[in-house]
């Protein structure tokens, strides 16, 4: 029974196959989760600043998630490969969000330029080419205006801004 032996090696301190949660642990975990829920509802009423409030809320949610994962989902007592699968997925979700964030930050000057030109009207937004260009090509027409958006050198796009492309009038679908 090599299969059993391997398991015994991985969990020598634990008879994990029939690990039964005691009522004390189950109710204790649940009470902990309820207290943390109360805490997160209370914490939002305190002004730590928008960013800090979000961090506090996420820290409490993370603590609750760990309680659920480790005890209710008994990952603490589980085989290591199940833990690897789950936290592997968590890592990929974090990677997914952070890489998308990098891309979004990179595009922010374009969005701001678009917003500066395209003020929403009751009829919706009429799309016109931005008069404010994030590309400060000194000496050229639109970008040379005073009070321009300042784009750091490394964020300047390598592709032409739409205003440098053949003119195609576009109308946005009515918003709302």
């Amino acid at each position: 029974m090599a299969y059993r032996e391997n398991e015994a090696e991985a969990h020598d301190e634990e008879h994990h196959e029939h690990h039964i949660m005691s009522p004390k642990v189950l109710i204790g975990t649940w009470l902990g989760l309820m207290v943390l829920t109360g805490l997160t509802v209370g914490a939002i009423k305190v002004d730590f600043g928008a960013q800090a409030n979000l961090i506090v809320a996420m820290a409490i949610a993370g603590a609750k998630a760990m309680l659920v994962c480790l005890i209710f989902m008994h990952l603490w007592f589980d085989q290591k490969y199940n833990v690897m699968i789950f936290f592997g997925s968590v890592i990929f979700v974090v990677l997914f969000i952070s890489i998308t964030f990098i891309d979004t930050k990179r595009n922010e000057p374009f969005r701001d330029a678009y917003d500066a030109t395209n003020k929403p009207t009751p009829e919706g937004r009429v799309l016109v080419e931005p008069t404010v260009s994030p590309i400060s090509t000194s000496g050229s027409d639109a970008a040379a205006q005073p009070g321009e958006l300042k784009v750091p050198e490394h964020q300047k796009p390598k592709v032409p801004w739409p205003s440098q492309l053949p003119d195609t009038p576009r109308v946005a679908p009515t918003a709302h």
Binding site: Y3, R4, E7, E17, H18, I20, M21, P23, L26, I27, T29, W30, L33, M34, T37, T40, V41, I44, D47, F48, A50, N53, L54, A57, M58, I60, A61, K64, A65, V68, C69, I71, F72, M73, D78, Q79, Y81, N82, I85, F86, G88, S89, V90, F92, V93, F96, I97, T100, F101, T104, K105, E108, R111, P120, P173, T174, A175, H176
Partner: protein, 239 residues
């Protein structure tokens, strides 16, 4: 495989691999532990996939909140924190009963197992009931997703107190309805799975040797709880 070979296999199975005294042990498994651990690996792979699946929506949330934090501050005024908090408690309690159902199955307590499963199903219906109250209230007031977003003046006044709402506010409700809606569909899936489990528990299928399905469905249920643990502060608790 030839017919003769199949016959030979069947004859062989009669010898020692059939597990005739164990109706729920697959003949391709060595023993109950083998079957249990295989099933467990399967459910964890599924849960890993679920996490990535919801991850796409959390990514959309993060990007839009990063770009337009103001619409999230405005949007959460339209939601009822109390109902959200009650739903969190309902779901946390159902996680307790789900974890307890595994304990009951491990101990071979059929009545206790059925009670815990029934409580979990009741909590799931409670959660959906509260969600229904929230949704119907919003539908009634025209607080819908995307281009359908047309809140009534009263709803607007109630949430915004005369301040003009951001023109992108509808994005918040697109995210709100997709994330809570998909989560709600998972709750319905959990109810179906638990109803099946209740039927099997009533038939006395589960015991200390065979309780895999109880454990696996509880794991799924905990994941549904886990998603809500993040959805609640992200949608209802914004400062």
């Amino acid at each position: 495989m030839s017919e003769a070979a199949i016959d030979a296999d069947a004859a062989h199975e009669d010898d020692d691999h059939g597990h005739h005294d164990e109706p729920f042990l697959g003949h391709h498994f060595k023993d109950h532990d083998h079957q249990f651990n295989t099933g467990k690996l399967g459910i964890w792979l599924f849960l890993g996939q679920e996490l990535l699946f919801f991850g796409g929506l959390f990514c959309a949330y993060a990007i839009y909140r990063g770009m337009h934090p103001e619409i999230f501050v405005e949007g959460h005024h339209f939601l009822d924190v109390n109902l959200g908090a009650i739903n969190t408690c309902v779901l946390l309690f159902s996680s307790l009963t789900a974890a307890w159902s595994v304990r009951m199955a491990q101990l071979g307590n059929k009545k206790g197992l059925m009670l815990m499963i029934a409580l979990t199903i009741a909590c799931a219906f409670g959660f959906l009931g509260i969600k229904y109250i929230e949704y119907s209230h919003k539908f009634h007031e025209g607080i819908l997703w995307g281009q359908l977003f047309a809140p009534s003046p009263e709803a607007m006044e109630h949430a915004m107190h005369g301040v003009e709402a951001n023109s992108r506010l509808h994005i918040f409700f697109s995210i709100y309805f997709v994330m809570t809606g998909l989560h709600g569909i998972h709750v319905i899936g959990g109810i179906i799975a638990y109803a099946w489990l209740l039927k099997r528990a009533a038939a006395g299928h589960f015991g200390p040797n065979y309780y895999g399905p109880v454990d696996f469905i509880a794991l799924y249920w905990h994941l549904v709880d886990l998603v809500w643990i993040f959805l609640f502060p992200l949608l209802y608790l914004i400062h």
